[in-house]
Amino acid sequence: MQILEGKNVTKYFGGLAAVHEVNFDIHQGEVVGLIGPNGAGKTTLFNLISGSLPTTGGEIRYKGKKITGLKPHQICKRGVARTFQSAKLFAGMSVFENALAASLFGTKRAISVPDAEREAAELLDFVELSTERERLARDLAIANRKRLEVARALATKPDLMMFDEVMAGLNPVEVAQAMELLTRIRKKGITIFMIEHVMKAIMNVCDRIIVLHHGSKIAEGTPEEIATSRTVIEVYLGE
């Protein structure tokens, strides 16, 4: 079953086509990777899906319903969560408060404060941040910041999660831990759509990969197909 589908999704910044008539489908339970050189329009596409930016044209549907034109908080409440390329935490709030805010506001149904607190604590446990819960988010090391962003996104109880370079800036051990975390998120039944530059992660974790170049989709397929595709290799390495 399709959970997210885009038809001719287009975004212009003035005369520049950042995303140009991109079609995509993401199925329930899948892990889909989104790759492409710098400036290909990957983050812009995420911003269009999450409602950060209005589309210029085309339509995005989530669970069969149109979400283009909705505000980010409405899209979040429908069940789409995201992380940001440079972790956008509530820096002056504690780790626990970061997760708590998401538990309190992330869902359509109202939640009581004790329930939200329990949920936030569970999720900090899930991402292995329990020991840091009273620290200010600004004092966390990079790997833990990323974990907190994941916990905060999870706290909104999403069915679809979008990760924007969640492994950037991590060392090899931390990348392995992040991959293990992704697997555990997947086991929860959450569909994953991720932008990633760490090829090892993309090739190991993803069921399917979409390649963007200059705002257009140039390839789509299994990791093996993408790794051997002539067009993709040309785009990344030149002729």
């Binding site: 935490l89 509530f90 998401a102």
Partner: protein, 316 residues
């Protein structure tokens, strides 16, 4: 965490607050009228500063529209003061500012930083100049008389508005609404992406803060007896709450209260004792506080208390 944590110090501070409140209520019975009038002015500044902090404290949107909301209340009072009972006049002053804030909020709260500051300041200037133009060209008379109210009544009403504003500030701070405001102040884009309707939260809070400023304006107008657009929409009233809040420290609820109280008292003392050097002295004090106490007076007290505690631990 301030949502659930109940510290053992709460009853103690509750008691202290209660005693201060009793003192403030009984004050007119045993102090000279001059002191009551001085305290009325101080309470006016404190209430406006606390109201300002309700919105601008957690969200970090520096609003310079205080004069607009205050003046709205002043003018409402001047217009309907003769035909309506006092409590209704004050309520109407608050409501008119509330409505103005909703309109201004929906228009401007998408702006951030410098743009928001300039826009809010322009709003109060626009209203002031529009009213001046209207009164000179349309009605032909600038300014109006306001129904007089006995000064102890003014004092009690301003005290009542102050207590309500403080209570509102406290309840908002410790509610989930307060957490949403704080999230918006920390990282607005992330806040919207965890399901917070930032526009709604900001507009409502902006309007609540304007309500108390309008109510304060409505009662203060009766103390001044005569008002015109220059008095009602005095731009100084847009800047003072910001200075007073920074003076006291915006981190804690009581920062703005102490900041505004000491600030207003200092101003009074300096103008009466040193009429020629008043501005010079006042400016110097302000510069020293802002340079050396980035967290305001309350920040200084906290630092000192923490230092004291550390010493105790070392000795034991």
């Amino acid at each position: 965490m301030n949502i659930t944590t109940v510290t053992s110090k709460k009853p103690f501070w509750g008691g202290v607050l209660f005693i201060i409140l009793i003192l403030l209520i009984t004050l007119p019975l045993y102090v000279p009228p001059y002191l009551v009038i001085l305290l009325t002015t101080i309470l006016m500044y404190v209430t406006i500063t606390v109201s300002w902090t309700i919105f601008s404290g957690p969200t970090r949107y520096i609003s310079l529209a205080s004069a607009a909301f205050f003046g709205m209340g002043v003018y409402t009072s001047a217009l309907i003061g003769k035909i309506m009972p006092l409590p209704l006049v004050i309520l109407a002053g608050g409501v008119s500012s509330f409505v103005l804030a909703v309109c201004v909020g929906l228009l401007t709260l998408r702006l951030r930083g410098m743009y928001f500051i300039i826009f809010t300041f322009s709003i109060s200037e626009l209203i002031r100049n529009f009213l001046l133009w209207w009164e000179t060209t349309m009605t032909g008379t600038v300014g109006r008389w306001v129904v007089m109210v006995e000064h102890t009544v003014v004092y009690y009403i301003i005290l009542f508005i102050f207590v309500l504003a403080l209570l509102a500030a406290y309840l908002i701070r410790r509610s989930r609404f307060g957490l949403a405001l704080k999230s918006i102040g920390e990282q607005e884009e992330a806040a919207t992406h965890i399901g917070i309707n930032a526009t709604m939260v900001k507009t409502v809070t902006f309007a609540i803060s304007a309500f108390f400023m309008g109510a304060t304006g409505a009662i203060m107008a009766t103390k001044w007896k005569y008002i015109d657009p220059r008095i009602a929409f005095d731009p100084l009233l847009s800047f003072l709450p910001v200075l007073m809040a920074i003076f006291g420290g915006t981190g804690q609820l009581f920062g703005p209260v102490f900041g505004a109280a000491i600030f207003a008292y200092l101003e009074e003392i300096l103008t009466t004792k040193f009429p020629y050097y008043y501005m010079l002295l006042f400016g110097s004090i302000l510069i020293v506080v802002i340079l050396f106490l980035p967290h305001g007076l309350v920040g200084l007290v906290q630092k000192w208390r923490k230092g004291g505690l550390k010493r105790q631990n070392a000795n034991s």
